[in-house]
Each structure stands twice: as structure tokens, then as C-alpha cells.
């Protein structure tokens, strides 16, 4: 396949960026999108240009590092992570636009790499449980009903990639935060911090400068792990419950 790539290039957070155009040839339809970018980067390096910076790690769709807006869609045309998107989703001769996540809470570090440490700080504010030290409890010491376990697991699938924020017209992190809150709040292990977790995580989310939620639903459409939109409603319910219960 022969492709024209229009890629966002930005030296550093202070310098304004711009789209740059590159041609790549001999791209196999079985390549992943990131392997296609590797090919471009090898050529750029040998030509003495700086390769395009992009985030990646596991390349098997489970780590949440890759983060590209492809032709306007977070993670591109398929419902998956960028690393699991293959070039067979494109046609020979296509022009592909590649941009970083766009949100004020995700400042660009370089080219296609953005700073997602705001997510880390949301997690730090409440994404934990009190873990008693000492001998390990028996596996069956704390029974968890199957529907609760399934609900927790569905939300635990969030890999924190940030596609929800990138897809949201408001740059809101409600789907991410709700996934983290719901995952722990439904489990008995998460009960001691149930109220403070949701209050603190939502407060941190606001402080980071993420936009407000208007229930547009783009987040749930872009999520590679299928975190459902009602997750946000479940978190709102937790938040309301907590505001009534906790006096601060």
C-alpha cells in the first residue's frame, strides 16, 4: 500500500505545532497502525530527520499507552486501540490524518505524545483500597455476588488511554473517572472509602481542568474497552449519595 500521512508535528509544549505531510510506500495490510508509523520513523531517522514521537508499550491492546486521533476518530475507524488497528482498515492511496489527543488537561509533550498525568492524579486521589497487612485472607473470606463482580470487572477493563476525553467535545473525563469509581465502589473491599473515593476523584477531575459532561455519549462510542455510558449515571448516583452522607 502507498499512503499519504498528514501528521501533527510539535517540537515541545511551548512551540506551536503544524501538520506535516509524508509519503509511505510498501505498507502491508497486515501491519498494525503503529508498525506503519515505525516504518515511517526508520525512514525519517535515516534521512536525518527526527522521527515522529508517539506513545506505545504493550502493542496488544491492554496497556492504554497508544493514543492517536486518526482521521478525526480517537484510535481510528475501528473500535479498538491504535496498536490493534491494522492497515487493512485503509485503502491503497488513502490520505490519513494523525493527531494527538486534544484536551487542555492533556498538554502535548511532543508531536503525538500528550501528558496524561492528570489521570494518574485522579487515580491517586481515590483509586485505591485500604489493604490490611498481615497474613493473606482466605480467598472465600469476603463473598462477592456474581452480578457485582461482573459490574466491577466491566469497569476494571478501563485501560486509562484517554480516548473518552479525546472524543468528548467538552474534553470531559467523566467516563474514565466513573469507570475507576464504579470498579471499586461496588466491591466490599472498596467499601471503607466508598464516599471519599467518589468525592475526591470527582474533585480532582475538576481541578485538572477536564470539561463538564453533557451526556453527548461520544466517550462510550470511542472507548476501546466498551465502558458503557450508564457508568456515568452510576457515578453520579454514588456522588449524590456521598454528598448526603459525608459532612465536610
Amino acid at each position: 500500500m502507498k499512503l499519504t500521512l498528514r501528521v501533527w508535528r510539535q517540537q515541545n509544549p511551548e512551540t506551536p505545532g503544524a501538520m506535516a505531510t509524508y509519503e509511505v510506500d510498501n505498507i502491508s495490510a497486515d501491519m498494525s497502525f503503529l508498525e506503519m508509523l515505525d516504518t515511517l520513523n526508520e525512514e525519517l531517522t535515516l534521512a536525518g530527520d527526527e522521527p515522529v514521537a508517539f506513545d506505545h508499550d504493550c502493542r496488544e491492546g491492554i496497556c492504554g499507552a497508544c493514543s492517536l486521533v486518526i482521521n478525526g476518530d480517537a484510535h481510528g475507524p475501528e473500535r479498538t486501540t491504535t496498536c490493534q488497528l491494522h492497515m487493512r482498515s485503509f485503502a491503497d492511496g488513502d490520505t490519513i490524518d494523525i493527531e494527538p489527543w486534544r484536551a487542555s488537561a492533556f498538554p502535548v509533550i511532543k508531536d503525538l505524545v500528550v501528558d496524561r498525568s492528570s489521570f494518574d492524579r485522579i487515580i491517586q486521589s481515590g483509586g485505591y483500597i485500604s489493604a490490611p497487612t498481615g497474613t493473606a485472607p482466605d480467598a472465600h473470606a469476603t463473598p462477592v455476588p456474581k452480578p457485582d463482580a461482573d459490574f466491577a470487572f466491566e469497569h476494571a477493563e478501563c485501560i486509562g488511554c484517554g480516548a473518552c476525553v479525546a472524543a468528548c467535545p467538552n474534553g470531559s473525563a467523566m467516563l474514565f473517572t466513573s469507570a475507576k469509581v464504579n470498579h471499586l465502589n461496588v466491591l466490599p473491599q472498596g467499601a471503607p472509602e466508598r464516599e471519599t473515593r467518589v468525592l475526591d476523584m470527582v474533585a480532582q477531575m475538576d481541578e485538572e481542568g477536564f470539561g463538564g459532561c453533557t451526556l453527548t455519549g461520544e466517550c462510550a462510542t470511542a472507548c476501546p474497552k466498551g465502558i458503557p455510558l450508564p457508568s456515568i449515571a452510576a457515578m453520579n448516583k454514588e456522588w449524590l449519595r456521598a454528598t448526603r452522607k459525608v459532612r465536610r
Partner: protein, 344 residues
């Protein structure tokens, strides 16, 4: 494919020639349920013989046809649905109707930083947990236990050991930037970075990464020989010399630079690769996932030599390119004693 699905069974492995179900042929008693090191080695062998399938010939078939016929598609879906979906996404082939193509890959190496029982490294205050340390796994690592190590170290061991260190060292002053050790470390790092940037050669960091990876896979991978390991040990210094002569790292050291990061990791990789080959060479036995071709039973099974090698080898770093020093930590078995594995 993970070893989980391999363990559940219900499939057959084959290579190109008239669907040679080679595992069933070589291990008739165990068929396709041999352990992963045997299955992986056998897959590489048939591909090395030129009998692999798919583009490039690096693949063998994992055939579910019989399993689907016997168990029904629904039961297979319940067991492997997630995996089949992943496979279909990657290859654009439907594993319910055509056999999967698989090939072994390195994803774990059973070793790491030496730590004491508190999981502290030789640097006081520096703890290494999970896959980074050597503590839990022996010569083999069975399914999912890389997770086990992360969980056991982080959830059970460290909470009971790090507090002892913290109690003894309640407050440590921040080290002054003018401290000679800091100045030395900073100067050393800056020199290395400047050198990497100044070579301006004609090879990319990725090309070296690939070359060392292929060398390790071939000579220090699932099956090793004295001859092959010596070849690798002769080749690594040559690659190192070539690296410092031909590496090309665009950009500067002043800002985020992924090429520079990769190049730095390759410097480390060369050091680690050399040590792994040296360790593999000195251990002239087969054990667990480490198969030394000279040390096998008449039926091709890994032959242990416990009287000589029943120890963990801890290598002490002396200097880059310098000979590491071997410390042997004897393995003492009180209740269960290692025995020769047999699948005959």
C-alpha cells in the same frame, strides 16, 4: 495463544507437510498436552527445518477443527472466544474455520535483579519487586505466575519488609547536587548522551535492537549449545563496537527524545545480553525452560544435573565490558526434591 489455552487442550498442532501433527508423532502418550517449553521448541524446530506455514514460514498450525466437531462451536467459544476474537483482529482470519498460525515468542526470562529476603537489592533502600527481581521463579515460569510474583511481592512481602527499612531510616536528607557521587553520575550520563548524539552514523536504534534480539533468540533462546553461546559471546562485542561507530540518534538531549531513549536502552541490552549468554554458557545442564542441547536424555527430554548446578547464579557487576563475578546461592530442598521430568 497463551499457555492457558494450550493447557485446556482440545486442539492439534501441525506443520506444512501433509498436516504433520508433529507433537502427536513425537510425544504419542501426551500428544498436544506437552509442557510449553517442549511445544515451543518443537514449533521452532519444524520452522527451522523449513516446514513452517504462512508468509515467511515462521508459523505452525493450531488446528481446532476436531475440537469444534467434538465439543461443538459453542463450547469452544465459551473457552476461547476472547482469544479467537483477538486472533481474528490481528490476522483477519476466522480461527473457527481455518487453523490458527502460531509461533513461540519470548515474553519472560526467569531472572532479574538479585534481592535479599526483604526484596532489597545490593543498593541499600532500593527494593525490586515483581518481574524485575529474581526471587520467585526457578528454571521455569508456569502460566500466569509473572502476575503471581507481582502480587505476592507487592501485596504480601513488601508491606511486611519495607517498613523495617523505613523504621531504621526514618529520615534521609536529600543528597546535595554538589556531592561527588552525584556529580560523577551526572557527568557519566551526560557524556554517554553526548556521545550517542555525536556519532551521527547510518544505523537506527531499532535496527540494533532487532539484531541483538535475533541473535539472542537464535543462540540464547529456547535451545542452546556451547558452540552457539560462544558465537553469541563473540558477536556481542562486535555489535557493541559497531553500535558506537554507526548509531544515528536524531534530535538533542535537551528535550523529549524517543530515539535517544531507545539508544540508551540498547546500551543496557548489550550488557544484559552478554550476561545472559555468559550465564547460559556456564550452566551446562538443561533445567525447566532452559534447554541445553548437550544435556538431554536419550528421548530428547531436558536432563538435569543437580549435583553440579543446584544453585541460583548471582552475577556481580564489576564494570561495563568487565568480567562479572559469580556468586552461587545453593538451593536446599528439605521436603520435595527435584527429579528428572519424563514424558516418555
Amino acid at each position: 495463544m497463551t499457555c492457558g489455552s494450550v493447557r485446556f487442550g482440545g486442539f492439534r498442532t501441525a506443520c506444512r507437510d501433509e498436516r504433520d501433527y508433529y507433537l502427536e508423532r513425537i510425544y504419542p502418550a501426551f500428544g498436544n498436552l506437552v509442557p510449553r517449553d517442549i511445544a515451543s521448541r518443537a514449533a521452532k524446530n519444524v520452522c527451522d527445518e523449513g516446514r513452517g506455514v504462512g508468509p515467511g514460514g515462521q508459523g505452525v498450525y493450531l488446528d481446532f477443527a476436531e475440537a469444534i466437531q467434538r465439543m461443538g462451536r459453542k463450547a469452544v467459544e465459551a473457552k476461547y472466544g476472547n482469544l479467537f476474537d483477538m486472533y481474528q483482529r490481528i490476522t483477519d482470519e476466522d480461527p473457527y474455520t481455518v487453523p490458527m498460525r502460531i509461533y513461540p515468542a519470548v515474553h519472560y526470562t526467569m531472572g532479574g535483579l538479585w534481592v535479599d529476603y526483604d526484596l532489597q537489592t545490593t543498593i541499600p533502600g532500593l527494593f525490586a519487586i515483581g518481574e524485575a527481581n529474581f526471587s520467585d521463579h526457578g528454571a521455569n515460569r508456569l502460566g500466569a505466575s509473572a502476575l503471581m510474583q507481582g502480587l505476592a511481592d507487592g501485596y504480601f512481602v513488601l508491606p511486611s519488609t519495607i517498613n523495617d527499612y523505613l523504621a531504621r531510616n526514618p529520615h534521609t536528607d536529600t543528597v546535595d547536587a554538589a556531592h561527588p557521587a552525584v556529580a560523577e553520575a551526572v557527568a557519566e550520563t551526560e557524556d554517554r548522551i553526548n556521545l550517542l548524539l555525536s556519532v551521527d552514523g547510518d544505523r537506527t536504534p531499532d535496527s540494533f535492537h532487532r539484531e541483538i534480539g535475533e541473535l539472542m533468540w537464535e543462540y540464547c533462546g529456547m535451545a542452546r549449545t556451547d558452540d552457539g553461546l560462544r558465537k553469541a559471546l563473540a558477536r556481542i562485542p562486535e555489535i557493541r563496537e559497531e553500535f558506537w561507530r554507526r548509531i544515528k540518534v536524531p534530535g538533542t538531549g535537551e528535550q523529549f527524545n524517543q530515539s535517544l531513549e531507545k539508544a540508551n536502552r540498547i546500551v543496557d541490552y548489550l550488557e544484559l545480553a552478554e550476561l545472559m549468554c555468559l550465564d547460559a554458557l556456564h550452566r551446562a545442564e538443561s533445567c525447566g525452560g532452559h534447554f541445553r542441547e548437550e544435556s538431554q536424555t536419550p528421548d530428547g527430554e531436558a536432563e538435569r544435573r543437580d549435583e553440579e548446578f543446584s544453585y541460583a547464579a548471582a552475577w556481580e557487576f564489576t564494570a561495563t565490558g568487565g568480567a562479572p563475578v559469580l556468586h552461587k546461592e545453593d538451593l536446599v530442598f528439605e521436603y520435595v526434591h527435584p527429579t528428572q521430568r519424563s514424558y516418555a
